[in-house]
Symmetry: C2
Subunit: 286 residues, 2 copies
């Protein structure tokens, strides 16, 4: 039930990047994922940083181009790269667009048919995948987990963190969709996964709305957004709304860094990955 | 004649990665290449590290996955990523195999028809491209250039360095084809570009043969080869032959590091890119 298949083992920065898969009950299909084990994991338990990817991505993109392994190897942190949706469920329409369905699970549990039949990336990422991974890799410390992500995955990181106080030691994000109820990507996804009439449900997965209700104690959130990011310019990310919510409710500790000229690509993640690993390490080794 | 077209400017590690092209006379076609300008280039002249790519690659692969920008940004070194062959010449057979023709120029000037009509990557990389780049980017210091590369590009780096004493300040390589006259990849390429009967020509582009004749002074060559590299196991790289030649002629300063379990992929370059930038920096800033 918890069995994991190893498809490849690749040496990387002194550790191993494992390409893995398992049959997931939440998403009703075989799910691929990657796990980076730093060299320190050979002799001690290591904490875990979950990296959630953006639209169209798989576990591969950031493993190859994000350079999290560089910092994770130095600090002694495992990195878990989940996929972005179920695949091959043969649900009508799931392959029609890059921003909905396959590759676009949005880290929610769909309640609307036909996507409620497997599009459960919230339960998958918060419960089934970590349970599977911790059972299979005893060198990982289940009590020390942080989370980060990019774009749709930044939305995932922020909402999973804010919905589950105490579950993750820290959160950070690159170019996150911070207010999905107010941007085209989020509205399309939430309409399709929850339905038009489920506004309360929508807000439960909107980082800006969640921040307004936060009562989980001090926050220290690191966000990088490039000023050359076309999706930022098009109003898909709306970090200003997230910052305004923080100000309105008096939340301290939100750092949004507007990085001059950086775009929405993995070049941006690579450039600042070390900072985000450092941010996680501060809490994983506190 | 020396004009360069900028197709994209991407922020990376505090500097800019430029995606460029120009019409090259040596290769008789438009050639794409990438140039990373570190942040230091805004205020001072910076040296250049040329990275030569392997079979099937373009200038993009290493720019995205090789992690050279990380170290180059810290040291203040520009990185020049040429393409691996002419493209679109419509020479019969040039697209028939991954290891000959398109994407497989082998950093030689072909003497055999029909490939002598444009497959001149030796002249392109040693002369036309740097002349073009130094004319277009005065912030680059033409007197300080180092060279490195991967696989076929490691062969390129070693042979260009050994054929041109003094031209490059240093050389290093990842999984280089060090003895092409004795491996299937090299034999196929040299047969196609030079002809079967041109053994003297073959040896002029074989790093192991060139090392036997080296009289350019002390050498300090850094080579990384992964022991999990399938092409190493298949005898395409033959670093032991290169080491034996160094011993035979009493050349000091060759360091071949056999990296346990590492494979032929960019994960290996990423893991050791900092070391190769450091190696170049030692000579570029001497």
């Amino acid at each position: 039930m918890m069995s994991v298949t190893t498809k490849a083992t690749i040496a990387s920065f002194g550790g191993k990047l494992l390409k893995l898969s398992h049959v997931a009950s939440t998403t009703r299909c075989e799910m691929s994922f990657n796990l980076y084990l730093p060299p320190q994991s050979q002799s001690q338990k290591v904490p875990v940083l979950i990296y959630l990817s953006g639209l169209t991505c798989t576990a591969e993109n950031c493993s190859e181009k994000g350079f999290f392994q560089h910092g994770a190897s130095k600090k002694g942190i495992a990195v878990l790269y989940p996929d972005t949706s179920p695949r091959g469920l043969n649900i009508e329409g799931e392959n029609d667009a890059y921003d909905f369905g396959t590759g676009a699970g949005f880290y929610v549990d769909a309640t609307k048919a036909p996507y409620d039949a497997g599009y459960n990336m919230y339960s998958y990422v918060t419960e089934e995948l970590p349970q599977t991974v911790f059972a299979a890799f005893p060198q990982l410390d289940a009590s020390r987990v942080s989370i980060t992500g990019h774009s749709m995955g930044g939305h995932g990181a922020l909402t999973l963190f804010l919905r589950n106080p105490g579950k993750y030691k820290s959160v950070s994000a690159f170019a996150p969709i911070t207010n999905p109820t107010n941007c085209p990507w989020g509205q399309k996804a939430f309409k399709g996964y929850f339905g038009d009439d489920q506004q309360a449900k929508w807000k439960e997965h909107d980082a800006t709305e969640l921040l307004k209700k936060w009562n989980g104690g001090p926050l220290d959130i690191l966000i990088d957004v490039g000023t050359g990011d076309n999706f930022y310019k098009q109003g898909q990310l709306l970090p200003e709304n997230f910052e305004a919510a923080a100000r309105d409710v008096g939340v301290q500790g939100l750092r949004v860094r507007y990085q001059p000229d950086y775009d929405h690509s993995y070049y941006t993640m690579a450039s600042f990955a070390d900072d985000h690993v450092e941010h996680a390490a501060k809490y994983l080794f506190a």
